[in-house]
Symmetry: C2
Subunit: 158 residues, 2 copies
Amino acid sequence: MTNAAEAWPSPRATDGPDDRSAFALGLLLRRAHDRALTAVAGVLRPLGLETRHFAVLIALCDKGAMSQSALVEVTGSDRATMVRVVDDLERELLVTRGTLPADRRVRIVAVTEHGRAVFDRAHTDVAPVIDGLVAPLLPGETDRLVDLLTRFVYPGRA
Amino acid sequence: MTNAAEAWPSPRATDGPDDRSAFALGLLLRRAHDRALTAVAGVLRPLGLETRHFAVLIALCDKGAMSQSALVEVTGSDRATMVRVVDDLERELLVTRGTLPADRRVRIVAVTEHGRAVFDRAHTDVAPVIDGLVAPLLPGETDRLVDLLTRFVYPGRA
DNA sequence: TATTGTTATACTCTATAACTATA
DNA sequence: TATAGTTATAGAGTATAACAATA
């Protein structure tokens, strides 16, 4: 944190919570994501997980086994990355790769018991960090933020 | 960057606008940022700009000339990256690097007339895209989202 | 022909540290 | 000793395309 104010005669050379225009929305989203990523990644690291592994575990524990292509959709990553993420999880025995008889191209990824235990542990560790992240918001505003972001990300859905 | 065309619309991969828990906040922020980045970057590309160049131009046009370290603070990038971004902008004659007599280590970055013209053009082109991005939100909700994100990103400020 | 998953490769980004010139 | 800026480099992340198996 440098004292940008004395850097030049610009009245407010510090950064920009004052700029409320939608124009800064992209930058705002980047910083928000960065803040959340840093905090959550720090908690997951001791468990040997990265956020993308955690994202896959969330999907699997929340919605059940699904194909890798479905996981690609849910997490928004690409299929090449998903192969490596599932490789990692499989190596740690957190998930298994099964086959779908109806379509033998598809690999069904399912969480193991051990995987669910690790997820529960991660869940427990991450929860207070999330609470800390949203601490600047008033009660109810977190749900509001999640609601707005959800509708922003998934247009066309109610 | 993901190809939204492939990820959407999709048959029914059971993905997650239903999960409203704060747990998906990180993933939600990633997808939201990705969506905004893809859209804005597409508009800026014909102008020879990337979003980080645009972020610097926004700061300079909005708050006036400032040092590179101040730009690092505003944009949230690191100083090594900022050197290259300012290099790019300087090469295109969009900004100039000046010196601060009081501290000759500091390089004051100022937007040129040409730079401001390009910024205005970019601003004009990006505005409707932002409007399109926030179209799923009701009137007033965009300001609400920006407000919540701002307080999320800059805790400790009113 | 199209799609799922896989692999290999190339490219971009970022993080880091070393270096200068100033303070 | 500390800071602003610069440069070089290594590592991680991502995109791309080619490929095999299946539809």
